[in-house]
């Protein structure tokens, strides 16, 4: 593999080529060990500004993660109070669990001045950065491919892992499938991650539509019967036919048969539950009050709930999760604030789930961050009674690019960090950047050097390992 020679080249070039990291950041190195066995990156995506999250300029929108006192300067030192929803604003009533007494940031490393330094502040581009460690301007197309490999591909190629050991779980479907794998010739679809969008799949559409029941009784809801035995038997017979049929071209994504079978079994369990609670159970206690008074899920809630199920079932080594609901902010500022509250509860639920599940507890590194921010100026859309209107993203001002990272897990040094002395050739921010998060996640998996050398080989600036937040 050419990565070895690239690595050697990289090392030979040393500080001049890659940028010498000073004490709080460094290029990835092989050989270091971590307590964590898996890296999970959760993007509270849709564009989240520092001012509303850590600054709490509109009240404490994320109290479980960050408490109620602003964590960045310029927003005061007092309790920010409850989320400031405009009088007259009508929205579904939120269902949220009781607030944590001690916010999660105190248990982990909070980087309060992370910078999404380059690339378009767009959702797919930000998500692509979080899967690859590459700033990019990827087109919004399902067949668009990053130049760099994703973390899924690197992990699978380096470890010969199954597709079910590397997951991308996304609120948004469609062109986000582009992020299963990149276009780098040494990687590609043979090492693609598993990809699922729970809001598209975790619902009753399949049993309702395919069973064709025109009259559905609430005490006899349709299900899909697909037992592991029938799945196995159908696949064995199918193999008889496929043995006589030319294979698809190398450009067609095909997971290994055993991975597809396991994915089918996983989904079949959901569609086979006659209570429909497997789509989204009332017991999770996060969402909105439905018409009938019960609990309705949001897109982000479905995404996190099924992230937990996937973690529980497959215990993957690498996972990237993209939320999106806060993006309503383009024309619904209050919805943006409310969605932050839901995301706050969901991420907290996810961490509590991880720390209460054997096989995940104390061996999972969780990175939580926005994929980018939002612009500094209101856009004038749908102004509320407090004079606040929508906020766009994509222009690339500091509102778009100043974000944060909360890193939770056994290898992180608790505390609030905001270094301004991170040095690397080509790094103008002097700060930790979004690409560093991905490199650090890769480093925990033992792939930091491969990610770094591959990006360097493409002439791209790789992220640094965030030494300053590691124990």
């Amino acid at each position: 593999m050419t990565t070895l020679s690239r690595r050697n080249l990289f090392r030979a070039a040393g500080a001049a080529a890659a940028g010498a990291a000073i004490s709080r950041g460094r290029p990835a190195l092989a050989g270091r060990t971590f307590a964590a066995k898996r890296s999970v990156i959760v993007s509270i995506a849709g564009g989240l500004r520092l001012s509303e999250s850590l600054g709490m300029a509109e009240g404490a929108t994320m109290p479980n993660l960050f408490g109620r006192v602003p964590l960045v300067s310029g927003f005061g030192d007092d309790d920010a109070g409850p989320t400031r929803i405009a009088p007259g604003y009508v929205s579904p009533q939120l269902v949220l669990p009781p607030e944590r007494r001690v916010p999660l940031y105190t248990e982990g490393a909070l980087v309060a001045n992370l910078r999404y330094a380059e690339g378009v502040p767009g959702h797919l581009q930000g998500a692509a950065c979080l899967t690859s460690g590459l700033y990019n301007d990827l087109d919004n197309r399902e067949d668009a491919r990053l130049e760099a490999p994703t973390l899924f591909e690197i992990h699978r190629r380096q470890t010969n892992a199954a597709a079910l050991d590397a997951w991308y779980v996304s609120n948004v479907a469609g062109f986000y499938r582009a992020l299963q794998y990149g276009g780098h010739p040494e990687f590609g679809q043979a090492f693609a991650g598993s990809w699922v969008s729970p809001p598209s799949t975790a619902n009753a559409i399949v049993p309702l539509v395919t069973r064709g029941n025109k009259r559905i009784r609430l005490d006899g809801l349709p299900i899909v019967n697909d037992s592991p035995e029938s799945n196995r038997a159908a696949r064995e017979l199918r193999a008889v036919l496929d043995g006589n049929t030319p294979a698809y071209g190398a450009d067609v994504l095909q997971q290994r048969t055993e991975d597809s079978a396991a994915m089918e079994d996983y989904l079949a369990e959901i569609y086979g539950d006659p209570t429909y609670q497997s789509f989204y159970p009332d017991a999770i206690g996060i969402g909105t009050v439905g018409d009938g008074g019960g609990l309705d899920a949001t897109g982000d809630a479905l995404t996190i709930y099924h992230t937990e199920r996937i973690l529980e079932r497959f215990k993957p080594s690498v996972m990237v999760v993209s939320l999106i609901d806060i993006d309503v902010c383009h024309d619904d500022f209050n919805g943006y604030l409310e969605s932050q509250r839901v995301a706050d509860a969901l991420v907290t639920h996810l961490w509590d789930f991880i720390q209460s599940t054997p096989g995940l507890k104390d061996e999972t590194a969780l990175f939580v961050l926005p994929e980018h921010g939002r612009q500094l100026q209101f856009n004038g859309q749908n102004t509320d009674t407090l004079g606040r209107s929508g906020l766009d993203h994509g222009g690339g001002d500091d509102g778009d690019r100043d974000v944060w990272l909360l890193a939770l897990g056994p290898d992180f040094k608790p505390g609030v960090h905001a270094p301004t002395n991170i040095e690397q050739a080509g790094r103008g921010s002097g700060r930790y950047e979004t690409i560093d998060v991905v490199t650090t996640a890769a480093e925990i998996l033992g792939h930091g050097d491969v990610m770094t050398s591959t990006l360097t080989g493409l002439g791209k600036r790789p992220g640094l390992v965030m030494e300053g937040i590691l124990r």
Binding site: D143, R177, A204, V209, G212, L221, L237, V240, V252, M263
Partner: protein
Amino acid sequence: MLKRMMFAAFLVVGAAACKDEYAFDQAVAGDTDSERVPRPKTDGQFLRSVYADLLGRAPGQLEVEIVDEGGNTLSEFPLDEQELLLVVLDGVGDDDAMRSLVVAGLVESEELSLPAKADVADPAAFVSEQFRNFLGREPNAYELDAFVAAWSRDPAVDPKVVVRAIIGSREYQSQ
């Protein structure tokens, strides 16, 4: 439960901003390569063909009535079969798994009446008929032997599994 079913129906409508998508279906003009490598059907092609071959019709509107335990109508609404199933198929990166599940549901459709295994007197004839129905050809000797042997040997192999296997095959799934 009702809200969950309704939720399924309106999920596709509730898209947030920033989700514009530009879909490209690659085409090659003047390709004379007779050794063309097969490509999988698109999700739309798959749905239309499986509805036609299995149910004898195109995907359409399913008018659903929800009734309570006493038989009282609670709600009535239409479900656009193709639009909704395309959303689901788009939501899983492994087409093979999700398509298989859709077919697992369709073989139990109220519109279809596959026989029970015990009611099939001649498994070879049944298998051959399914090959003709879905692939437009007879099974070769190897295929027929393999299917009939599995029918006898494996309790999980039944008419539904035979149909699922043929529909799931690369031959059926290819354009």
